[in-house]
Amino acid sequence: MSGHNPFLVESDDDDDDREEENLLRTAAARANVMGFGGSNISSSSPEMMYGGGEGEASHPMKTTSSSTSSSSVFANKSSRESVPPLPSAPRMTTRSSGSNSTTTTHTTTTGGGGGFWIFSFKYYQKYFDVDTADVLRRIKKGTYGALGGALFLDDVKEKPDLYGAFWGCATLVFVVAMGGNFAEYLESMSSSSTTSSNRKRMLMMRKLLQEEEENVLPPPAPYSPPPATTSVVSAKEPWQFDVTKVSQCAAMTYAYVFLFPLSLYLVKRCYAGVRSASYTALVCLYGYSIMSYIPASILCIFPVETLRWVAVMTACAVSSASLFRNVDALLKGESGNTKAMAIAKGMGVAIVGANVIFAVCLKELFFRF
Protein backbone atom coordinates (compact mmCIF):
# COMPACT_ATOMS: atom_id res chain seq x y z
CA MET A 1 0.00 0.00 0.00
CA SER A 2 2.95 2.31 0.46
CA GLY A 3 3.03 4.85 -2.30
CA HIS A 4 1.30 2.80 -4.94
CA ASN A 5 -1.67 4.81 -6.07
CA PRO A 6 -4.56 2.38 -6.51
CA PHE A 7 -6.49 4.89 -8.52
CA LEU A 8 -3.92 4.83 -11.27
CA VAL A 9 -4.08 2.34 -14.06
CA GLU A 10 -1.13 3.78 -15.87
CA SER A 11 -2.10 4.60 -19.41
CA ASP A 12 -5.74 5.21 -18.67
CA ASP A 13 -5.05 7.96 -16.24
CA ASP A 14 -2.87 9.72 -18.75
CA ASP A 15 -5.52 9.35 -21.38
CA ASP A 16 -8.08 10.65 -18.98
CA ASP A 17 -5.97 13.61 -18.06
CA ARG A 18 -4.93 14.20 -21.61
CA GLU A 19 -8.52 14.26 -22.67
CA GLU A 20 -9.24 16.68 -19.91
CA GLU A 21 -6.33 18.75 -21.07
CA ASN A 22 -7.60 18.66 -24.63
CA LEU A 23 -10.87 20.06 -23.47
CA LEU A 24 -9.13 22.73 -21.46
CA ARG A 25 -6.77 23.50 -24.28
CA THR A 26 -9.52 24.01 -26.82
CA ALA A 27 -11.52 26.07 -24.41
CA ALA A 28 -8.53 28.20 -23.58
CA ALA A 29 -7.65 28.54 -27.24
CA ARG A 30 -11.15 29.65 -27.96
CA ALA A 31 -10.90 32.14 -25.15
CA ASN A 32 -7.66 33.41 -26.64
CA VAL A 33 -9.27 33.86 -30.00
CA MET A 34 -12.03 35.87 -28.44
CA GLY A 35 -9.41 38.17 -27.09
CA PHE A 36 -9.60 37.75 -23.37
CA GLY A 37 -6.35 39.51 -22.95
CA GLY A 38 -2.82 38.63 -22.13
CA SER A 39 -3.33 36.73 -18.94
CA ASN A 40 -5.38 33.99 -20.49
CA ILE A 41 -2.86 33.23 -23.16
CA SER A 42 -0.57 31.58 -20.71
CA SER A 43 -3.46 29.43 -19.63
CA SER A 44 -2.85 27.26 -22.59
CA SER A 45 0.89 27.47 -22.47
CA PRO A 46 1.79 25.16 -19.57
CA GLU A 47 -0.63 22.48 -20.64
CA MET A 48 0.40 22.69 -24.23
CA MET A 49 4.04 22.53 -23.39
CA TYR A 50 3.61 19.57 -21.22
CA GLY A 51 0.92 17.76 -23.07
CA GLY A 52 2.26 18.38 -26.51
CA GLY A 53 4.60 15.46 -26.46
CA GLU A 54 2.66 13.65 -29.09
CA GLY A 55 3.19 14.72 -32.66
CA GLU A 56 -0.37 15.52 -33.50
CA ALA A 57 -0.68 18.05 -30.73
CA SER A 58 2.50 19.92 -31.44
CA HIS A 59 1.22 21.69 -34.50
CA PRO A 60 -1.73 23.33 -32.80
CA MET A 61 0.63 24.28 -30.04
CA LYS A 62 3.04 25.93 -32.44
CA THR A 63 0.38 27.86 -34.31
CA THR A 64 -1.32 29.27 -31.27
CA SER A 65 1.93 30.11 -29.62
CA SER A 66 3.14 31.93 -32.72
CA SER A 67 -0.09 33.83 -33.02
CA THR A 68 0.18 35.04 -29.49
CA SER A 69 3.88 35.51 -29.26
CA SER A 70 3.45 39.22 -29.64
CA SER A 71 2.05 39.42 -26.16
CA SER A 72 4.62 40.32 -23.58
CA VAL A 73 2.81 38.40 -20.88
CA PHE A 74 3.27 35.20 -22.78
CA ALA A 75 6.95 35.91 -23.23
CA ASN A 76 7.33 36.57 -19.53
CA LYS A 77 5.58 33.42 -18.63
CA SER A 78 7.59 31.28 -20.99
CA SER A 79 10.82 32.56 -19.60
CA ARG A 80 9.70 31.75 -16.13
CA GLU A 81 8.69 28.22 -16.87
CA SER A 82 11.35 25.86 -15.73
CA VAL A 83 10.79 23.25 -18.43
CA PRO A 84 11.56 24.35 -21.99
CA PRO A 85 8.83 23.72 -24.54
CA LEU A 86 10.34 20.63 -26.11
CA PRO A 87 8.16 17.81 -27.33
CA SER A 88 10.19 15.45 -25.22
CA ALA A 89 9.57 17.37 -22.05
CA PRO A 90 8.72 14.91 -19.33
CA ARG A 91 5.07 15.11 -18.57
CA MET A 92 4.95 13.50 -15.22
CA THR A 93 7.15 15.94 -13.40
CA THR A 94 4.78 18.76 -13.85
CA ARG A 95 1.63 16.99 -12.95
CA SER A 96 2.86 14.80 -10.18
CA SER A 97 1.79 17.08 -7.44
CA GLY A 98 0.34 20.46 -6.99
CA SER A 99 3.53 21.92 -5.65
CA ASN A 100 5.36 21.35 -8.90
CA SER A 101 2.85 23.13 -11.03
CA THR A 102 2.85 26.27 -9.00
CA THR A 103 5.47 28.14 -10.95
CA THR A 104 2.70 30.54 -11.79
CA THR A 105 1.78 31.24 -8.23
CA HIS A 106 4.75 33.45 -7.60
CA THR A 107 3.78 35.72 -10.40
CA THR A 108 0.82 37.35 -8.76
CA THR A 109 0.14 38.35 -5.26
CA THR A 110 -3.11 40.03 -6.06
CA GLY A 111 -4.84 36.71 -6.48
CA GLY A 112 -5.22 36.87 -10.22
CA GLY A 113 -6.07 33.77 -12.14
CA GLY A 114 -2.47 32.86 -12.77
CA GLY A 115 -3.59 32.41 -16.31
CA PHE A 116 -5.75 29.33 -15.90
CA TRP A 117 -9.33 28.91 -16.84
CA ILE A 118 -11.56 29.46 -13.86
CA PHE A 119 -13.38 26.18 -14.30
CA SER A 120 -10.27 24.04 -14.46
CA PHE A 121 -8.70 22.14 -11.61
CA LYS A 122 -5.41 23.88 -12.07
CA TYR A 123 -6.94 27.24 -11.29
CA TYR A 124 -7.86 26.13 -7.83
CA GLN A 125 -4.90 23.89 -7.20
CA LYS A 126 -2.78 26.86 -6.30
CA TYR A 127 -5.22 27.75 -3.57
CA PHE A 128 -4.70 24.39 -1.92
CA ASP A 129 -0.97 24.34 -2.10
CA VAL A 130 -0.36 23.65 1.56
CA ASP A 131 1.07 20.80 3.56
CA THR A 132 -0.20 19.53 6.87
CA ALA A 133 2.49 21.40 8.74
CA ASP A 134 1.52 24.63 6.97
CA VAL A 135 -2.11 24.24 7.90
CA LEU A 136 -1.32 23.56 11.54
CA ARG A 137 0.95 26.56 11.71
CA ARG A 138 -1.67 28.77 10.10
CA ILE A 139 -4.32 27.56 12.50
CA LYS A 140 -2.14 28.56 15.41
CA LYS A 141 -1.35 31.90 13.91
CA GLY A 142 -4.86 32.63 12.75
CA THR A 143 -6.66 31.85 15.94
CA TYR A 144 -4.47 33.41 18.56
CA GLY A 145 -2.17 35.40 16.35
CA ALA A 146 -3.07 38.59 18.11
CA LEU A 147 -0.68 37.75 20.87
CA GLY A 148 2.33 38.64 18.83
CA GLY A 149 4.70 37.15 16.40
CA ALA A 150 4.59 37.37 12.66
CA LEU A 151 1.41 38.56 11.10
CA PHE A 152 -0.87 36.01 9.58
CA LEU A 153 -1.36 38.03 6.44
CA ASP A 154 2.34 38.42 5.85
CA ASP A 155 2.78 34.72 6.13
CA VAL A 156 -0.08 33.99 3.84
CA LYS A 157 0.21 36.64 1.17
CA GLU A 158 2.30 34.53 -1.15
CA LYS A 159 0.24 31.40 -0.88
CA PRO A 160 -3.23 31.98 0.47
CA ASP A 161 -5.13 28.78 0.85
CA LEU A 162 -8.80 28.00 0.84
CA TYR A 163 -8.40 24.68 2.63
CA GLY A 164 -8.59 26.23 6.08
CA ALA A 165 -11.54 28.42 5.18
CA PHE A 166 -13.59 25.63 3.71
CA TRP A 167 -12.88 22.78 6.08
CA GLY A 168 -12.62 24.97 9.15
CA CYS A 169 -16.14 26.17 8.45
CA ALA A 170 -17.26 22.60 7.82
CA THR A 171 -15.86 21.52 11.17
CA LEU A 172 -17.52 24.45 12.91
CA VAL A 173 -20.87 23.64 11.31
CA PHE A 174 -20.53 20.03 12.38
CA VAL A 175 -19.59 20.89 15.95
CA VAL A 176 -22.28 23.53 16.35
CA ALA A 177 -25.02 21.39 14.86
CA MET A 178 -24.14 18.29 16.86
CA GLY A 179 -23.35 20.28 19.97
CA GLY A 180 -26.54 22.29 19.74
CA ASN A 181 -28.61 19.18 19.35
CA PHE A 182 -26.82 17.45 22.18
CA ALA A 183 -27.32 20.45 24.44
CA GLU A 184 -30.98 20.48 23.52
CA TYR A 185 -31.15 16.81 24.40
CA LEU A 186 -29.55 17.38 27.79
CA GLU A 187 -31.94 20.23 28.42
CA SER A 188 -34.97 18.12 27.58
CA MET A 189 -33.66 15.27 29.69
CA SER A 190 -33.13 17.41 32.74
CA SER A 191 -36.47 19.19 32.56
CA SER A 192 -38.62 16.18 31.81
CA SER A 193 -36.90 13.69 34.05
CA THR A 194 -39.35 12.07 36.40
CA THR A 195 -37.62 12.93 39.64
CA SER A 196 -37.45 16.64 38.97
CA SER A 197 -40.98 16.87 37.64
CA ASN A 198 -42.33 14.87 40.54
CA ARG A 199 -40.51 17.08 42.95
CA LYS A 200 -41.89 20.14 41.26
CA ARG A 201 -45.38 18.74 41.43
CA MET A 202 -45.05 17.89 45.08
CA LEU A 203 -43.79 21.35 45.88
CA MET A 204 -46.71 22.88 44.06
CA MET A 205 -49.19 20.67 45.87
CA ARG A 206 -47.70 21.51 49.24
CA LYS A 207 -47.83 25.21 48.48
CA LEU A 208 -51.45 24.91 47.40
CA LEU A 209 -52.39 23.10 50.60
CA GLN A 210 -50.59 25.69 52.67
CA GLU A 211 -52.36 28.49 50.89
CA GLU A 212 -55.69 26.81 51.41
CA GLU A 213 -55.03 26.44 55.08
CA GLU A 214 -53.95 30.01 55.50
CA ASN A 215 -56.55 31.71 53.36
CA VAL A 216 -60.16 30.77 53.72
CA LEU A 217 -60.92 32.66 50.60
CA PRO A 218 -60.22 30.91 47.33
CA PRO A 219 -56.86 31.87 45.93
CA PRO A 220 -57.00 34.72 43.47
CA ALA A 221 -56.15 34.38 39.82
CA PRO A 222 -52.36 34.77 40.24
CA TYR A 223 -52.29 31.27 41.72
CA SER A 224 -53.09 29.65 38.43
CA PRO A 225 -49.43 28.76 37.85
CA PRO A 226 -49.58 25.32 39.53
CA PRO A 227 -51.84 23.71 36.93
CA ALA A 228 -49.98 25.49 34.16
CA THR A 229 -46.59 24.10 35.16
CA THR A 230 -47.83 20.56 35.35
CA SER A 231 -49.44 20.86 31.98
CA VAL A 232 -46.26 22.35 30.57
CA VAL A 233 -44.25 19.47 31.94
CA SER A 234 -46.56 16.83 30.58
CA ALA A 235 -46.91 18.52 27.22
CA LYS A 236 -43.15 18.60 26.68
CA GLU A 237 -42.36 16.55 23.62
CA PRO A 238 -39.62 13.97 23.45
CA TRP A 239 -36.45 15.38 22.03
CA GLN A 240 -35.95 15.11 18.30
CA PHE A 241 -32.87 15.77 16.30
CA ASP A 242 -33.24 19.16 14.71
CA VAL A 243 -31.73 18.81 11.27
CA THR A 244 -32.40 22.41 10.30
CA LYS A 245 -29.57 23.40 12.62
CA VAL A 246 -27.14 21.93 10.12
CA SER A 247 -28.40 23.89 7.18
CA GLN A 248 -28.85 27.12 9.12
CA CYS A 249 -25.40 26.99 10.62
CA ALA A 250 -23.83 26.12 7.28
CA ALA A 251 -25.53 29.03 5.57
CA MET A 252 -24.56 31.47 8.29
CA THR A 253 -20.95 30.40 8.62
CA TYR A 254 -20.15 30.13 4.95
CA ALA A 255 -21.82 33.43 4.20
CA TYR A 256 -19.83 35.12 6.94
CA VAL A 257 -16.50 33.65 5.93
CA PHE A 258 -16.85 34.11 2.19
CA LEU A 259 -19.06 37.15 1.68
CA PHE A 260 -17.98 39.52 4.43
CA PRO A 261 -14.34 39.52 3.28
CA LEU A 262 -15.65 40.27 -0.18
CA SER A 263 -17.14 43.53 1.01
CA LEU A 264 -13.95 44.30 2.92
CA TYR A 265 -11.91 43.59 -0.16
CA LEU A 266 -14.07 45.76 -2.36
CA VAL A 267 -13.84 48.70 -0.01
CA LYS A 268 -10.14 48.23 0.43
CA ARG A 269 -9.36 47.79 -3.22
CA CYS A 270 -11.81 50.08 -4.94
CA TYR A 271 -12.02 52.90 -2.45
CA ALA A 272 -8.59 52.90 -0.90
CA GLY A 273 -6.66 51.32 -3.71
CA VAL A 274 -4.81 48.89 -1.48
CA ARG A 275 -3.58 46.05 -3.62
CA SER A 276 -1.43 44.10 -1.27
CA ALA A 277 -3.78 41.44 0.01
CA SER A 278 -6.02 39.49 -2.30
CA TYR A 279 -9.58 38.42 -1.67
CA THR A 280 -8.36 34.89 -1.12
CA ALA A 281 -5.97 36.08 1.57
CA LEU A 282 -8.80 37.78 3.41
CA VAL A 283 -10.99 34.69 3.14
CA CYS A 284 -8.05 32.65 4.37
CA LEU A 285 -7.68 34.96 7.37
CA TYR A 286 -11.36 34.76 8.20
CA GLY A 287 -11.44 31.03 7.73
CA TYR A 288 -8.61 30.35 10.12
CA SER A 289 -9.85 32.85 12.69
CA ILE A 290 -13.29 31.30 12.81
CA MET A 291 -11.75 28.09 14.09
CA SER A 292 -11.49 29.69 17.48
CA TYR A 293 -15.23 29.18 17.83
CA ILE A 294 -14.84 25.42 17.69
CA PRO A 295 -13.67 24.85 21.28
CA ALA A 296 -16.20 27.44 22.43
CA SER A 297 -19.00 25.47 20.77
CA ILE A 298 -17.86 22.32 22.50
CA LEU A 299 -18.00 24.14 25.82
CA CYS A 300 -21.48 25.39 24.99
CA ILE A 301 -22.82 21.87 25.33
CA PHE A 302 -22.80 22.18 29.10
CA PRO A 303 -26.17 23.50 30.26
CA VAL A 304 -24.71 26.34 32.28
CA GLU A 305 -25.79 29.58 30.69
CA THR A 306 -22.96 31.68 32.10
CA LEU A 307 -20.36 29.25 30.85
CA ARG A 308 -21.85 29.41 27.39
CA TRP A 309 -21.73 33.16 27.21
CA VAL A 310 -18.23 33.31 28.61
CA ALA A 311 -16.98 30.74 26.13
CA VAL A 312 -18.56 32.38 23.13
CA MET A 313 -17.45 35.86 24.07
CA THR A 314 -13.90 34.68 24.68
CA ALA A 315 -13.79 33.10 21.27
CA CYS A 316 -15.22 36.27 19.81
CA ALA A 317 -12.60 38.39 21.51
CA VAL A 318 -9.75 36.15 20.40
CA SER A 319 -10.82 36.00 16.79
CA SER A 320 -11.68 39.70 16.65
CA ALA A 321 -8.27 40.57 18.01
CA SER A 322 -6.58 38.44 15.41
CA LEU A 323 -8.66 39.87 12.59
CA PHE A 324 -8.28 43.43 13.76
CA ARG A 325 -4.54 43.17 14.16
CA ASN A 326 -4.04 41.77 10.70
CA VAL A 327 -6.32 44.09 8.77
CA ASP A 328 -5.15 47.09 10.72
CA ALA A 329 -1.54 46.32 9.96
CA LEU A 330 -2.44 45.77 6.35
CA LEU A 331 -4.08 49.16 6.03
CA LYS A 332 -1.61 51.08 8.13
CA GLY A 333 1.24 49.51 6.21
CA GLU A 334 0.28 51.53 3.18
CA SER A 335 2.34 54.56 4.07
CA GLY A 336 1.48 56.95 1.27
CA ASN A 337 -2.16 56.07 1.04
CA THR A 338 -4.30 58.61 2.86
CA LYS A 339 -7.56 56.92 2.08
CA ALA A 340 -6.28 53.69 3.59
CA MET A 341 -5.40 55.50 6.78
CA ALA A 342 -8.80 57.08 6.88
CA ILE A 343 -10.74 53.87 6.61
CA ALA A 344 -8.50 51.90 8.95
CA LYS A 345 -10.44 52.80 12.04
CA GLY A 346 -13.82 52.40 10.40
CA MET A 347 -12.89 49.06 9.01
CA GLY A 348 -11.58 47.88 12.34
CA VAL A 349 -14.89 48.76 13.97
CA ALA A 350 -16.81 47.01 11.21
CA ILE A 351 -14.74 43.85 11.54
CA VAL A 352 -15.09 43.63 15.29
CA GLY A 353 -18.78 44.49 15.13
CA ALA A 354 -19.48 41.83 12.54
CA ASN A 355 -17.61 39.26 14.57
CA VAL A 356 -19.62 40.13 17.67
CA ILE A 357 -22.85 39.81 15.73
CA PHE A 358 -21.72 36.44 14.41
CA ALA A 359 -20.87 35.24 17.91
CA VAL A 360 -24.19 36.37 19.35
CA CYS A 361 -26.13 34.77 16.51
CA LEU A 362 -24.20 31.56 16.97
CA LYS A 363 -25.02 31.46 20.64
CA GLU A 364 -28.63 32.54 20.38
CA LEU A 365 -29.72 30.48 17.40
CA PHE A 366 -28.09 27.23 18.35
CA PHE A 367 -27.54 27.17 22.07
CA ARG A 368 -30.49 28.87 23.62
CA PHE A 369 -33.21 27.07 25.44
Partner: protein
Protein backbone atom coordinates in the same frame (compact mmCIF):
# COMPACT_ATOMS: atom_id res chain seq x y z
CA UNK B 1 -25.56 3.31 -17.43
CA UNK B 2 -22.77 5.21 -15.80
CA UNK B 3 -19.77 3.08 -15.25
CA UNK B 4 -16.29 2.65 -16.54
CA UNK B 5 -13.96 -0.23 -16.95
CA UNK B 6 -10.25 -0.13 -17.19
CA UNK B 7 -9.55 -3.48 -18.71
CA UNK B 8 -6.88 -3.96 -21.32
CA UNK B 9 -8.69 -2.64 -24.34
CA UNK B 10 -7.62 -0.48 -27.27
CA UNK B 11 -6.97 3.12 -26.36
CA UNK B 12 -9.99 4.43 -28.17
CA UNK B 13 -12.10 2.29 -25.90
CA UNK B 14 -10.53 3.95 -22.94
CA UNK B 15 -11.32 7.33 -24.32
CA UNK B 16 -14.87 6.24 -24.82
CA UNK B 17 -15.28 4.94 -21.34
CA UNK B 18 -13.33 7.52 -19.48
CA UNK B 19 -15.16 10.40 -21.05
CA UNK B 20 -17.66 10.22 -18.28
CA UNK B 21 -20.93 8.48 -18.71
CA UNK B 22 -20.43 7.27 -22.25
CA UNK B 23 -23.12 5.58 -24.16
CA UNK B 24 -25.34 2.95 -22.77
CA UNK B 25 -23.61 0.29 -24.79
CA UNK B 26 -20.30 -1.05 -23.61
CA UNK B 27 -19.02 -1.80 -27.06
CA UNK B 28 -15.54 -2.88 -26.15
CA UNK B 29 -16.21 -4.55 -22.87
CA UNK B 30 -15.04 -8.09 -22.64
CA UNK B 31 -18.26 -9.30 -21.06
CA UNK B 32 -20.60 -8.49 -23.88
CA UNK B 33 -18.30 -9.95 -26.47
CA UNK B 34 -18.17 -13.23 -24.69
CA UNK B 35 -21.93 -13.42 -24.39
CA UNK B 36 -22.87 -13.20 -28.01
CA UNK B 37 -22.27 -16.24 -30.20
CA UNK B 38 -24.20 -14.86 -33.19
CA UNK B 39 -22.48 -14.65 -36.52
CA UNK B 40 -22.74 -11.11 -37.80
CA UNK B 41 -20.41 -9.27 -40.08
CA UNK B 42 -18.52 -6.73 -38.00
CA UNK B 43 -17.13 -6.82 -34.53
CA UNK B 44 -19.16 -3.81 -33.51
CA UNK B 45 -22.42 -5.21 -34.76
CA UNK B 46 -22.03 -8.32 -32.66
CA UNK B 47 -21.70 -6.50 -29.37
CA UNK B 48 -24.05 -3.68 -30.33
CA UNK B 49 -26.95 -6.03 -30.79
CA UNK B 50 -26.04 -8.12 -27.78
CA UNK B 51 -26.85 -5.65 -25.06
CA UNK B 52 -29.76 -4.14 -26.94
CA UNK B 53 -31.51 -7.43 -27.52
CA UNK B 54 -31.09 -8.99 -24.16
CA UNK B 55 -33.90 -9.05 -21.70
CA UNK B 56 -34.16 -6.39 -19.04
CA UNK B 57 -33.66 -8.89 -16.28
CA UNK B 58 -30.31 -9.80 -17.76
CA UNK B 59 -29.28 -6.13 -17.88
CA UNK B 60 -30.36 -5.60 -14.32
CA UNK B 61 -28.64 -8.75 -13.23
CA UNK B 62 -25.42 -7.61 -14.81
CA UNK B 63 -25.57 -4.28 -13.05
CA UNK B 64 -26.52 -5.80 -9.75
CA UNK B 65 -23.68 -8.28 -10.05
CA UNK B 66 -21.31 -5.42 -10.66
CA UNK B 67 -22.60 -3.55 -7.64
CA UNK B 68 -22.33 -6.61 -5.43
CA UNK B 69 -18.82 -7.39 -6.58
CA UNK B 70 -17.79 -3.78 -6.04
CA UNK B 71 -19.22 -3.82 -2.56
CA UNK B 72 -17.37 -7.01 -1.78
CA UNK B 73 -14.12 -5.65 -3.13
CA UNK B 74 -14.23 -2.18 -1.70
CA UNK B 75 -15.56 -3.15 1.67
CA UNK B 76 -13.60 -6.31 2.10
CA UNK B 77 -13.86 -6.74 5.86
CA UNK B 78 -10.73 -8.81 6.10
CA UNK B 79 -8.67 -6.22 4.33
CA UNK B 80 -10.13 -3.35 6.29
CA UNK B 81 -9.80 -4.76 9.74
CA UNK B 82 -6.83 -7.00 9.44
CA UNK B 83 -4.75 -5.04 7.02
CA UNK B 84 -3.09 -6.12 3.85
CA UNK B 85 -1.44 -9.48 4.13
CA UNK B 86 1.31 -9.89 1.58
CA UNK B 87 0.74 -13.25 -0.04
CA UNK B 88 3.60 -15.47 -0.97
CA UNK B 89 3.04 -14.90 -4.67
CA UNK B 90 4.45 -11.42 -4.49
CA UNK B 91 3.83 -7.78 -5.22
CA UNK B 92 1.77 -8.10 -8.37
CA UNK B 93 -0.90 -10.08 -6.66
CA UNK B 94 -1.39 -7.57 -3.88
CA UNK B 95 -1.22 -4.69 -6.32
CA UNK B 96 -3.88 -6.28 -8.39
CA UNK B 97 -5.98 -6.79 -5.35
CA UNK B 98 -5.56 -3.16 -4.50
CA UNK B 99 -6.49 -2.04 -7.95
CA UNK B 100 -9.27 -4.53 -8.11
CA UNK B 101 -11.90 -2.57 -6.16
CA UNK B 102 -11.66 0.39 -8.46
CA UNK B 103 -11.45 -1.17 -11.85
CA UNK B 104 -15.15 -1.50 -12.46
CA UNK B 105 -16.48 1.59 -10.79
CA UNK B 106 -20.02 2.72 -11.31
CA UNK B 107 -22.35 5.29 -9.84
CA UNK B 108 -25.40 3.06 -9.44
CA UNK B 109 -24.19 1.58 -6.19
CA UNK B 110 -23.53 4.89 -4.47
CA UNK B 111 -26.87 6.26 -5.60
CA UNK B 112 -28.75 3.29 -4.21
CA UNK B 113 -26.88 3.42 -0.93
CA UNK B 114 -27.38 7.13 -0.46
CA UNK B 115 -31.08 6.89 -1.20
CA UNK B 116 -31.40 3.98 1.15
CA UNK B 117 -29.62 5.91 3.86
CA UNK B 118 -31.83 8.96 3.41
CA UNK B 119 -35.01 6.93 3.35
CA UNK B 120 -33.95 4.99 6.42
CA UNK B 121 -33.31 8.13 8.40
CA UNK B 122 -36.32 10.08 7.27
CA UNK B 123 -38.85 7.29 7.53
CA UNK B 124 -38.36 6.84 11.22
CA UNK B 125 -38.62 10.56 11.79
CA UNK B 126 -41.78 10.88 9.76
CA UNK B 127 -43.31 7.80 11.27
CA UNK B 128 -42.92 9.03 14.82
CA UNK B 129 -45.69 11.14 16.22
CA UNK B 130 -44.49 14.67 16.40
CA UNK B 131 -46.47 17.84 16.38
CA UNK B 132 -43.25 19.75 16.18
CA UNK B 133 -42.59 20.13 12.49
CA UNK B 134 -39.08 21.47 12.75
CA UNK B 135 -37.59 18.36 11.30
CA UNK B 136 -40.01 16.25 9.38
CA UNK B 137 -39.17 13.47 7.01
CA UNK B 138 -38.69 15.70 3.99
CA UNK B 139 -36.25 18.02 5.69
CA UNK B 140 -34.21 15.17 7.08
CA UNK B 141 -34.00 13.40 3.78
CA UNK B 142 -32.93 16.52 1.93
CA UNK B 143 -30.32 17.49 4.47
CA UNK B 144 -28.86 13.99 4.59
CA UNK B 145 -28.85 13.59 0.83
CA UNK B 146 -27.30 17.02 0.35
CA UNK B 147 -24.65 16.27 2.95
CA UNK B 148 -23.64 13.04 1.29
CA UNK B 149 -23.78 14.27 -2.28
CA UNK B 150 -22.08 17.56 -1.67
CA UNK B 151 -19.68 15.99 0.80
CA UNK B 152 -18.53 13.37 -1.67
CA UNK B 153 -18.13 16.04 -4.35
CA UNK B 154 -16.20 18.35 -2.04
CA UNK B 155 -14.02 15.52 -0.81
CA UNK B 156 -13.03 14.49 -4.30
CA UNK B 157 -12.35 18.08 -5.26
CA UNK B 158 -10.30 18.44 -2.11
CA UNK B 159 -8.06 15.54 -3.03
CA UNK B 160 -7.72 16.77 -6.57
CA UNK B 161 -6.84 20.29 -5.48
CA UNK B 162 -4.27 19.02 -3.04
CA UNK B 163 -2.50 17.55 -6.01
CA UNK B 164 -3.71 14.00 -5.71
CA UNK B 165 -3.85 11.93 -8.82
CA UNK B 166 -7.31 10.49 -8.87
CA UNK B 167 -10.00 10.02 -11.41
CA UNK B 168 -12.89 12.18 -10.38
CA UNK B 169 -15.92 9.96 -10.80
CA UNK B 170 -14.05 6.91 -9.66
CA UNK B 171 -13.23 8.59 -6.38
CA UNK B 172 -16.82 9.69 -5.95
CA UNK B 173 -17.89 6.14 -6.60
CA UNK B 174 -15.51 4.90 -3.93
CA UNK B 175 -16.79 7.38 -1.38
CA UNK B 176 -20.35 6.40 -2.20
CA UNK B 177 -19.65 2.71 -1.81
CA UNK B 178 -18.21 3.31 1.62
CA UNK B 179 -21.60 4.60 2.76
CA UNK B 180 -22.74 0.98 2.73
CA UNK B 181 -21.57 0.12 6.29
CA UNK B 182 -23.43 3.18 7.55
CA UNK B 183 -26.52 1.90 5.78
CA UNK B 184 -26.22 -1.31 7.72
CA UNK B 185 -25.70 0.64 10.93
CA UNK B 186 -28.79 2.73 10.28
CA UNK B 187 -30.88 -0.36 9.66
CA UNK B 188 -29.52 -1.99 12.80
CA UNK B 189 -30.31 1.14 14.80
CA UNK B 190 -33.96 0.55 14.05
CA UNK B 191 -33.79 -2.48 16.24
CA UNK B 192 -33.26 -0.75 19.52
CA UNK B 193 -33.03 2.74 20.96
CA UNK B 194 -30.48 1.85 23.58
CA UNK B 195 -27.69 4.42 23.44
CA UNK B 196 -24.85 2.01 24.05
CA UNK B 197 -26.03 -0.41 21.40
CA UNK B 198 -26.48 2.38 18.90
CA UNK B 199 -23.12 3.95 19.49
CA UNK B 200 -21.44 0.59 19.25
CA UNK B 201 -23.14 -0.26 15.98
CA UNK B 202 -22.56 3.17 14.50
CA UNK B 203 -18.97 3.21 15.72
CA UNK B 204 -18.36 -0.08 13.99
CA UNK B 205 -19.91 1.24 10.81
CA UNK B 206 -17.88 4.43 10.85
CA UNK B 207 -14.64 2.53 11.51
CA UNK B 208 -15.40 0.20 8.65
CA UNK B 209 -16.20 3.04 6.25
CA UNK B 210 -13.12 5.00 7.15
CA UNK B 211 -10.92 1.95 7.09
CA UNK B 212 -12.12 1.06 3.63
CA UNK B 213 -11.79 4.47 2.04
CA UNK B 214 -8.88 6.15 3.79
CA UNK B 215 -6.10 3.94 2.40
CA UNK B 216 -7.12 4.67 -1.16
CA UNK B 217 -7.26 8.39 -0.68
CA UNK B 218 -4.09 8.63 1.34
CA UNK B 219 -2.20 6.67 -1.27
CA UNK B 220 -3.25 9.15 -3.92
CA UNK B 221 -1.75 12.18 -2.18
CA UNK B 222 1.84 13.03 -1.31
CA UNK B 223 3.11 12.24 2.15
CA UNK B 224 3.04 15.78 3.55
CA UNK B 225 -0.62 16.25 2.74
CA UNK B 226 -2.05 12.92 3.73
CA UNK B 227 -3.69 14.26 6.86
CA UNK B 228 -5.26 17.10 4.92
CA UNK B 229 -6.91 14.67 2.54
CA UNK B 230 -7.93 12.14 5.15
CA UNK B 231 -9.40 14.47 7.76
CA UNK B 232 -12.43 15.66 5.74
CA UNK B 233 -13.22 12.08 4.85
CA UNK B 234 -13.30 11.08 8.49
CA UNK B 235 -15.38 14.16 9.24
CA UNK B 236 -17.96 13.18 6.64
CA UNK B 237 -18.33 9.61 7.86
CA UNK B 238 -18.50 10.64 11.50
CA UNK B 239 -21.21 13.18 10.65
CA UNK B 240 -23.22 10.56 8.80
CA UNK B 241 -22.70 8.09 11.61
CA UNK B 242 -23.98 10.56 14.14
CA UNK B 243 -26.98 11.24 11.93
CA UNK B 244 -27.68 7.53 11.83
CA UNK B 245 -27.29 7.10 15.56
CA UNK B 246 -29.48 9.98 16.52
CA UNK B 247 -32.12 10.43 13.88
CA UNK B 248 -33.21 6.86 13.35
Amino acid sequence: MSHGTFDDAPSSANNNNSSGFGSGINIFGANSVRERPQSVSSFQDISASSTLDESISKTFKRDIDRIVSNVKNVLDAKRVFLGNRRSSIGEENSQQQQQQPLRDWDLYGPLIFVLLFGVCLSSSAGGGSSSKTKSDAGTIFSVVFATVAFGAFALTLNVKFLGGKIIFLQAMSLIGYCIFPLDMSAVLCWVSANSWYRFFVVGLGVTWSCGASVPFVSAAVVEERKALAVYPMVLLYVTLGLFAAVVV
